[in-house]
Subunit: 537 residues, 2 copies
């Protein structure tokens, strides 16, 4: 049934008809070469022309270094325009960008580099002293590209290249890219102690970009969006729902290295930001700024937030502070690139505890354990279908089988859908805590805690928290005879966790009990613990 294309050159045909993420940048930069694409955290302003030349330079250089189609490239970089040029460089070269959470512990990063069979890393010079340990013993790694000035670092017998030496102008990169080629791999914490690599295709990223642009109203043309980004680009939220939809529609992203309320308010005023996307705790900090009443925040049309519904009074205060802005809750997960649900404006007050209806390119349902779709208002696992579902977990055939069972992607979230198609989150099936934009594996934190001699048993869950969405909470049973009167054991466990876990995974709260609720077969009932925490705090 397919057309007879035997006379067509396959590369010519691919170039003229393909769906490729790198082409989104080519299009915009051709049309708006002098427009501001990115403001770096250091304040430097990058035009679309410069950004395209840099991205093409990265692509051309990586190919010249001998990297082959669909080879993975790890990014160990903080927010910067070079992060985005690295991402687009990989996309244009048909490589897989693997941005890695630089806050992870060295051991986990080392494990990811092995799991993803990484041969090339692009790393910030400031991170080298710490993270070099992550690949010191990696025998597959052959190329280290260093961002930042300075003497050539010691990277063993590997080839070492300065990032900026890649950024030379030259002929456009023309290689074949297929719809379902992988464009990025992001590691996400699941129920096992090791994170899983989420493989995402060009189709998924481009459809998600266009879908997001419609959902949050990015215009395209003479008017365009301006969006400050303080969330880390190594996570899908900042990369796929913030940076890419804005860049695909010719807008400007203003990158921040971290969140500081007054710096962000300065950026909003200076660049006339049209959109904001922050965690609820960040909006609280913004509203607490002493200077906010004097600010001109009239340019902002939409304040997006994520992770969990905000209290109604916070929404009201936010709406007053940003007089021309709507407030929008978005929810999602790495496996869906990531946005799956966007709240309706009218639900913001009436159904303020709900997530909202599925996004325009997403089907959402509640599924029974036997795979049947549940009735409205019935509780079960939330499942999704979408062209921006991941292609699969890397090296995890069993996880893929479970993830796609019954023709739906299984989110691991328990909830219900009401008559209006609005999704309500009830509980988490997967044993993870979503805290401050990070997925924390409960099992991993429990494994560490159980390694402490005083801990007999423990359960790590999320408890509702206005600042973190969920706070990592450890419910601990200690050995008989341990002194619980002063807080020395709590301090002891806290320090022990800080030593053995990445910062974001360290419990915010310890609760000491004499026993944990269990099933008849002796399994700890986490849903019971979570439900007690929700009700009694």
């Amino acid at each position: 049934m397919k057309p007879d294309l035997s006379l067509v050159d396959p590369l010519d045909y691919n170039l003229a008809t393909r769906l490729a993420v790198g082409d989104m940048l080519t299009r915009v930069s051709w049309l708006f070469p002098d427009r501001l694409a990115i403001v770096d955290p250091d304040g430097s302003e990058i035009s679309y022309r410069a950004f395209e030349v840099a991205s093409e330079g990265v692509a051309r250089s990586l190919i010249a270094e001998g990297l082959e189609r669909q080879e993975p490239v790890a990014l160990l970089l903080p927010n910067s325009w070079r992060f985005l040029a690295s991402f687009f460089g990989c996309a244009k070269a048909g490589l897989i960008a693997c941005p890695i959470n630089i806050q992870l512990d060295v051991e986990t990063i080392a494990w990811i580099l092995e799991d993803a069979t990484v041969t090339t890393v692009i790393i910030d010079r400031a991170l080298l002293p710490t993270l070099e340990k992550a690949f010191r013993n990696n025998r597959r790694l052959k190329l280290v590209i260093v961002v930042g000035d300075g003497p050539e670092p010691d990277v063993g017998d590997r080839r070492c290249v300065a990032f900026d030496s890649l950024l030379v102008d030259g002929p456009g990169v023309s290689i074949r890219i297929e719809d379902r080629d992988i464009v990025h791999c992001l590691y996400t914490s699941g129920t096992t102690s090791r994170p899983k690599g989420v493989l995402t295709s060009h189709v998924a990223v481009m459809v998600a970009s266009l879908s997001n642009a419609i959902q949050v109203g990015h215009p395209r043309g003479e008017e365009y969006s301006v969006l400050p980004i303080v969330l880390p680009l190594f996570h899908t939220t900042a990369l796929d729902t913030l940076a890419l939809p804005v860049l695909a529609t010719g807008g400007t992203v203003v990158l921040g290295a971290s969140f500081a309320p007054d710096t962000l308010l300065d950026v909003v005023e200076r660049y006339r930001a049209t959109h904001l996307m922050l965690l609820p705790a960040m909006y609280q900090a913004l509203l607490a700024s002493e200077s906010i009443a004097r600010r001109d925040l009239s340019s902002v049309r939409l304040c997006i937030y994520a992770m969990a519904p905000m209290p109604r009074d916070l929404i009201g205060r936010l709406a007053r502070a940003f007089p021309n802005s709507k407030i929008l809750l978005g929810s999602g997960q790495t496996e869906c690139v990531p946005a799956t649900v966007f709240q309706w404006p009218s639900n913001q007050y009436d159904k303020s505890d709900s997530w909202g209806p599925p996004a325009i390119t997403v089907d959402a349902r509640i599924i029974d354990p036997d795979g049947a779709i549940a009735e409205r208002d019935a509780v079960g696992e939330i499942v999704y279908r979408s062209p921006h579902t991941m292609s699969g977990y890397w090296n995890s055939a069993e996880a893929n089988r479970v993830a796609f069972e019954h023709g739906w992607f299984h989110s691991g979230d328990v909830g219900m859908v009401d008559r209006a198609g609005v999704i309500w989150f009830v509980d988490r099936l997967k044993d993870i805590v979503k805290s401050g934009g990070e997925n924390v594996s409960s099992v991993e934190v429990e494994r560490v805690l159980l390694g402490h001699p005083e801990v007999l048993e423990c359960a790590v869950v999320g408890s509702p928290d206005p600042r973190w969405g969920e706070a990592v909470t450890a419910v601990v049973v200690v050995r008989e005879g341990t002194d619980l009167e002063d807080d020395s054991i709590e301090l002891e466990l806290l320090n022990y966790c800080k030593e053995h876990l990445p910062r974001f995974a360290v419990p915010k709260r310890f609760i000491f009990e004499t026993s944990l609720p269990k099933t008849a077969t002796g399994k700890i009932q986490k849903s019971e613990i979570r439900s007690r925490l929700r009700e009694h705090g």
Copy 2:
């Protein structure tokens, strides 16, 4: 490099991750079951629930009739909600919908049915007496589905089914659909006397829908677009840029069987239309309506027009008649599904003769005959790259080779791109006339004219026309001795053309000359004729 998905059921995996045009309707109808999807030309109002049930019914029935994956189904239907249910039914069943221009002559339709290897037609009962001739001798056709009440027609020994008997509720259709499966095939006139089937994939249609929604500002959610459609759905403009983007974003389409100014103004007021898309001549007729000054046209936010820039005074009058509306020129072609270029609002007056910059998902360039990209302001062929380029022409390997040469889709239009990325149309490379939304093959009209005994030689070209965009114009050299004093020969040729050509292809104008401009090798110089017509009328 692809993930190991060996444990995943292929159908389950496909359902959870696929990009399929039919799923766009599933999503919207699940969320807005009671919202108005379509108003039929007969006035009946179809909800999204009813539309989804009907489309699933068509899909289920076609599969039950034994049609196999990617089998073509011809639609011989005027504008109606059943046209759109047929289209979505085919899309959901993994079949190729082939909407055919019902204004074509019977012989050409017969040829298309053969070329597309059609086994099933869905046909309006009112068209049967005329168009039955088109498949009377077709030996491949096995199933005739008839829209409209009445006794069972005589369709030979083929199976005959009433369309409405397909529309029964039942379990959802779950079949595998791949990104580049073909979802529709539209025949378009080219330089040869026979039209070519343009094969379009699910990727192309979905990306075009999302791209269009961004370009023309379809919101999605509690606010939504309302769009009257009077252009015929068997053309890509009405189907792919009007109906599908509105339906994909949960809006309402109000179908008209044909264009009548006061009926359309009634629709705008009654349904609070947010968008309009008409040909320039239709806007002129609208403005000439005696009732327009009394109308409430405040709901319209965007008036889109196509084919050729409108005169500045018409744009000004339109802007005054629709007080809240912007005016937008869009250009494109069937091979690009179709929108490739959208004008900037600011160019509407300053560069009112230009087409505008490429659409968000399209690269446009000017190419030299040797495949090199031309400098800005240089004249050459306009070429495109886009994920919504066609998959290819059906049964036309040589045409595909030419169409995709040098890694670009060749439009057949000659133009230039200025420093601002704005495209200016100069001339047509392909020998077609674009008149009133139809492509007319010059060669086909010339072939007919040359069949008349009095015609010695002739050239058919388009001349600029405020009503038709281009008017089909025949420049004719008649035999010596033919009387040119009265207009009898003109009337004679006009009637001869009416007899042998579809209505839209009949020349609007005859010009009699004693010779035609020719190259040294004797080839008629059409560009010379077109340029004379542009300058001297």
